[in-house]
């Protein structure tokens, strides 16, 4: 007998798992790399009444004439209209022109967006990101917020905002506009962009206070 009985009972069997561990050690980093830690959120959008078929809820009752706040995004800035009257361009913006002009008037946003698209088609992702961000940051979202806070003061019950844009405006600009006008932030007016973008929505009763939180996307024919 090579071993005595006592030694056989005590002997802990070793797992010969080299092959299995090979696979696991390769699989784990692969899965870790493909896990993307992102949180998906949604924005509720309404389309105007052009859908075929019955709607699930009756249209909301309106006691007074609706405000019809409209923000039109074009290559030169934002055009704000309310009650079918367009707001005059701000001081410092060229007249005639959009209500809120570009923060960087030298940037040709249409060209930037076209460049970004063509670069993406060619696969140059970093250059496309740069062009896209140059185009997006040319818009003055801070002034848009300031102006809309003033509008809200006169019409505190309105939360609907109609949004429309030129055909070539990319989706990211739309999302940034919706972000800028959705919640009331800590202050009513901001003078620097850095402060504006760092500001958190004001919270009341555990929910953020809405500024104009019901976007309706208008379909320009």
């Amino acid at each position: 007998m090579a071993r005595s009985k006592r030694e056989m009972a005590d002997d802990v069997p070793e797992l010969d798992l080299l092959a299995f561990m090979n696979m696991v050690v390769i699989l784990i980093p692969m899965l870790l790399l493909s896990v993307v830690f992102i949180q998906v959120g949604v924005i509720n959008i309404t389309a105007p009444k052009l859908s075929v078929g019955s709607s699930t809820e009756p249209p909301p009752e309106q006691e007074e004439e609706p405000l019809n706040l409209t923000i039109a995004i074009n290559a030169k800035g934002f055009r704000i209209a309310a009650r079918s009257a367009q707001l005059e361009p701000m001081s410092g913006c060229p007249q005639p022109g959009p209500t809120i002009c570009l923060a960087n008037p030298d940037v040709n946003v249409a060209a930037k967006f076209d460049a970004a698209r063509s670069q993406l088609a060619k696969g140059q992702k970093e250059a496309a990101d740069v062009a896209l961000s140059e185009g997006v940051t040319a818009y003055n979202f801070r002034e848009l917020y300031n102006t809309l806070v003033q509008v809200k003061k006169n019409y505190p019950k309105e939360t609907v905002v109609n949004l429309t844009a030129d055909a070539g405006i990319p989706y990211v600009v739309l999302v940034q506009v919706m972000d800028a006008v959705r919640y009331v932030r800590e202050k009513d007016s901001y003078s620097t962009s850095a402060e504006f973008f760092d500001a958190e929505p004001k919270v009341e009763a555990a929910a953020p206070v809405a500024l104009f939180s019901d976007p309706v996307l208008a379909i320009a024919q």
Binding site: V24, I28, G168, Y171
Partner: protein
């Protein structure tokens, strides 16, 4: 002399035996692992648990928001996504519930796919797919006893031109879907890398 020899002989045999025993014991103490095996039971435990966790994570994602042709913009939106019919507008194609409906070239749908030509807002193949998926969702809701909501989630790449978005919304509207949820990635503007 005989006794002495005898005693010595016994001693020697004993010594030999004793030495052998001690050698054997030392061998047992210095237990070398067998060729090609590793004593890594606890490490294996960790790896297997991590594997199970990652597999579960893999299957949990309801919406795909990143891919080679899809970069969804970031937003400070607070609402969470729900499981429902999705229309994905990537840079190369429009997909309904991850099945391709129509191709996109240079940010627009080819005019042959549109009912009514270039200026039309109605994309025919997309309309067909949406009605199909909507009917499926309706039947499923009826089966489960839930009420079917005519809502659809739109996942769009950040460079999608506004015109394409309106076309998709119009087409979905024709297919009796009136409410939309636009999917975004949650984040602060300052950390989005947009250069603000």
């Amino acid at each position: 002399m005989v006794e002495k020899a005898g005693a010595k002989g016994v001693d020697q045999a004993e010594n030999v035996w004793l030495e052998e025993q001690s050698r054997r014991r030392n061998k047992k103490k210095r237990k070398e692992p067998a060729e090609g095996g590793l004593t890594m039971n606890s490490f294996m435990d960790i790896l297997v648990i991590m594997l199970v966790f990652l597999m579960k994570n893999f299957g949990d994602l309801p919406i795909q928001v990143a891919g080679p042709d899809l970069q969804v913009p970031t937003s400070i939106a607070q609402l969470g996504a729900e499981d429902m019919t999705t229309i994905t507008i990537s840079r190369k194609a429009i997909l309904v519930n991850n099945a391709k409906a129509v191709d996109i070239k240079d940010g627009a749908v080819d005019k042959s796919q549109k009912k009514g030509g270039e200026a039309s807002l109605h994309i025919q193949p997309l309309f067909d797919r949406i009605t199909e998926e909507n009917k499926k969702a309706e039947r499923l809701a009826k089966l489960l006893g839930n009420k079917h909501e005519p809502v659809v989630t739109v996942v769009a790449d950040q460079t999608t031109p506004y015109r394409l978005i309106t076309e998709v919304m119009y087409t979905a509207g024709q297919a009796e879907l009136s409410k939309f949820k636009f999917a975004v990635i949650k984040g602060q503007a300052s950390e989005l890398g947009l250069g603000f």
